[in-house]
């Protein structure tokens, strides 16, 4: 939904800005002295500034409460998945429970539990990569960067079973576009 709202706001805003521009082009005539329009415009400017600031402050207050960072996420992860990006593949897993005990995943496949909160501990071995998880419809469900020397903790709860694709979301060299892996959620 976030994506739809963001897209809608941008589309409606862009159309509004375009229409105001066209209105102004036609509003250039008939000519009147500058003094007769500036006073009114400056009044509108003051109001516009106040309304714009109010909108931005409200949006800031609403959106800054929902950050993807580990310490901001209230759900306590039940499983941990180490992830390492390297040129040009992903090493994902093995899945561990909170106490560090490995789960019974078959080697080479990554199966994550449905409805359980998972913490991906994402890093990189060589250059920067981007860990992006896409669902079967090709929609991005979560992402974080994979940076050498740092571990980025991404917390996510899968609510839909199926095959998910992990795509590299930071350009990392000649075969970047082939750096794809899969995760199964069941």
């Amino acid at each position: 939904m976030t994506v739809w709202y963001a897209g809608l706001i941008t589309l409606v805003g862009a159309i509004a800005i375009f229409l105001i521009t066209i209105w102004l082009l036609y509003g250039a005539t008939p000519a009147q002295p500058a003094e007769s329009v500036t006073g009114r415009l400056y009044k509108v400017r003051g109001r516009y500034f106040v309304v714009l600031m109010a909108v931005l402050v409200i949006v800031l207050l609403l959106t800054l409460r929902h950050l993807p960072y580990r310490s901001m996420v209230s759900a306590e992860p039940e499983y941990i998945v180490p992830v390492s990006g390297m040129i040009w593949s992903w090493q994902i897993g093995p899945l561990e429970d909170r106490d560090g005990n490995p789960s019974s995943n078959v080697a080479g496949t990554v199966v994550l539990p449905l409805g359980k909160t998972v913490e991906f501990q994402v890093t990189a071995k060589d250059v920067n990569h981007g860990f992006g998880i896409y669902n079967e419809q090709g929609q991005l469900v979560a992402q974080t960067q994979a940076m050498p020397g740092y571990v980025n903790k991404l917390v996510h709860t899968f609510t839909v079973p199926g095959k998910y694709e992990v795509l590299c979301m930071e350009y990392c060299g000649l075969a970047h576009h082939t750096m794809i892996s899969t995760i199964t959620v069941e």
Partner: protein, 397 residues
């Protein structure tokens, strides 16, 4: 010929040389963009090493060409008020030309292809020729040197005529009549050049570390620190390019509307706020680096949101006051300036939306980002630049 007329003729000549060179490079770089799109669609076969080398040249080239063209336009228009150095402009042209040739050779011959922001440590990957890494870094350093010298020269002449606080319009904050009137264009260019100079110095430091690692491959630097540095430099350069275009609008639109566009306390306050906020907006490039301190992430969103307010509010209403019921004749120059402002605001709206961390989780490094900067460059800045070039040619004719 008097000194002043001579300066005027040289200014026109060099503004013309820079503009023509920029337009030629712009067209070439657009064609490279087209090659990438044709390659992606499968219409032509482009090998990955060439594709990414072209992508790197397209990105670095466009950022550099558009900034340089914007700077040259500002340099020419401010010479109505001050006398920046023509000799430096000539010298910088040589530096820039060398930098451009170096980048072309590094990318198209050496196939250097780490993308326009050369994110550390990707440039040191050895799938491209080792020499191309050093050549590319040195070339960007040449460009950065020319940009920094140019920024400092404009600040030098502004400070000489208006004083350090005067070029930022601080005289408007006092009580009583303002004696030393400041054209709004000088204020905007001063803000852009200060932000540009500070961040170019950071960029220079970072490039020196790149050069050091190229010479001594065992060296290793902190990837998060380098990412912050590259975006402080790169984001701000691209951001002030837009302000260079906006400065052109402030200077040229009054010539066509017949109404003066003056600095007042609100205009001065707004652009001073821009100077403060523009230096911190780059943090939004690191939202998906969860290791970055959370306080910085908060600050990044607040700075990104707020940096969109002062410049746009005073500029939108200033432009409205310029044209509404002014009887302006809509020929190419004012029309292009006006559409340029529209493109800037639309592209800016897309940026504010994406600079919301909760939204960025879904938009970061997706096509939303190139869509945003292509909108504000192609529908915004390039319109303003075309306006300037048309004005220049028209004035010459």
């Amino acid at each position: 010929m008097t000194d002043e007329t001579e300066q005027g003729t040289s200014a026109t000549l060099w503004a013309g040389v820079y503009s023509i060179t920029a337009l030629i490079l712009f067209v070439v770089l657009v064609l490279l963009g087209l090659v990438m799109r044709l390659g992606q669609s499968g219409a032509v076969a482009v090998r990955p090493d060439y594709f990414y080398a072209i992508m790197t040249l397209h990105g670095l080239g466009m950022a550099g060409v558009l900034y340089t063209a914007g700077y040259a336009a500002n340099w020419y228009l401010v010479s109505k008020y001050v006398q920046p150095s023509v000799a430096l402009m000539r010298f910088n042209f040589v530096l820039i030309l060398l930098g451009v040739v170096g980048l072309i050779v590094a990318t198209l011959v050496g196939r250097f292809g780490p993308g326009w922001y050369m994110l550390y440590p990707l440039p040191f990957l050895t799938t491209w020729a080792g020499w191309s890494i050093g050549l590319a870094v040195l070339s960007v350093m040449l460009l950065g040197t020319a940009w920094l010298l140019g920024q400092l020269d404009l600040l030098r002449v502004f400070a000489g005529k208006y004083g350090l606080s005067g070029m930022l319009g601080w005289q408007y904050f006092g009580k009583g009549e303002t004696r030393n009137e400041l054209p709004p264009m000088i204020l905007i260019v001063a803000v852009s050049m200060i932000a540009g100079a500070i961040t170019t110095i950071v960029g220079a430091g970072m490039l020196m570390l790149y050069l050091a690692q190229w010479l001594a491959p065992d060296l290793q630097f902190d990837a998060l620190l380098m990412k912050n540095a590259v975006f402080l430099f790169g984001h701000t350069l691209v951001n002030i390019t837009m302000y260079c275009g906006v400065a052109v609008v402030y200077e040229l639109l009054p010539e066509y509307s017949g109404r003066p566009w003056k600095t007042n306390a609100i205009v001065a306050l707004s652009w001073n706020a821009v100077l403060l906020l523009v230096l911190f907006a780059f943090f939004h490039h690191l939202y998906m680096d969860f290791a970055q301190p959370i306080a910085v992430q908060y600050f990044g969103q607040i700075a990104s949101f707020m940096s969109a307010v002062p410049a746009t509010v005073v500029t939108i209403f200033g432009a409205m006051a310029q044209v509404y019921r002014s009887g302006i004749r809509w020929n190419f120059v004012p029309l292009s300036l006006f559409f340029g402002l529209m493109g800037w605001i639309i592209g800016g709206l897309a940026a504010v939306v994406d600079s919301t961390i909760a939204v960025n989780s879904y938009f970061h490094n997706t096509l939303w980002v190139p869509a945003h900067f292509h909108t504000y460059f192609l529908v915004g800045f390039v319109f303003m630049l075309f306006s300037f070039v048309y004005h220049l040619v028209d004035a010459k004719a």
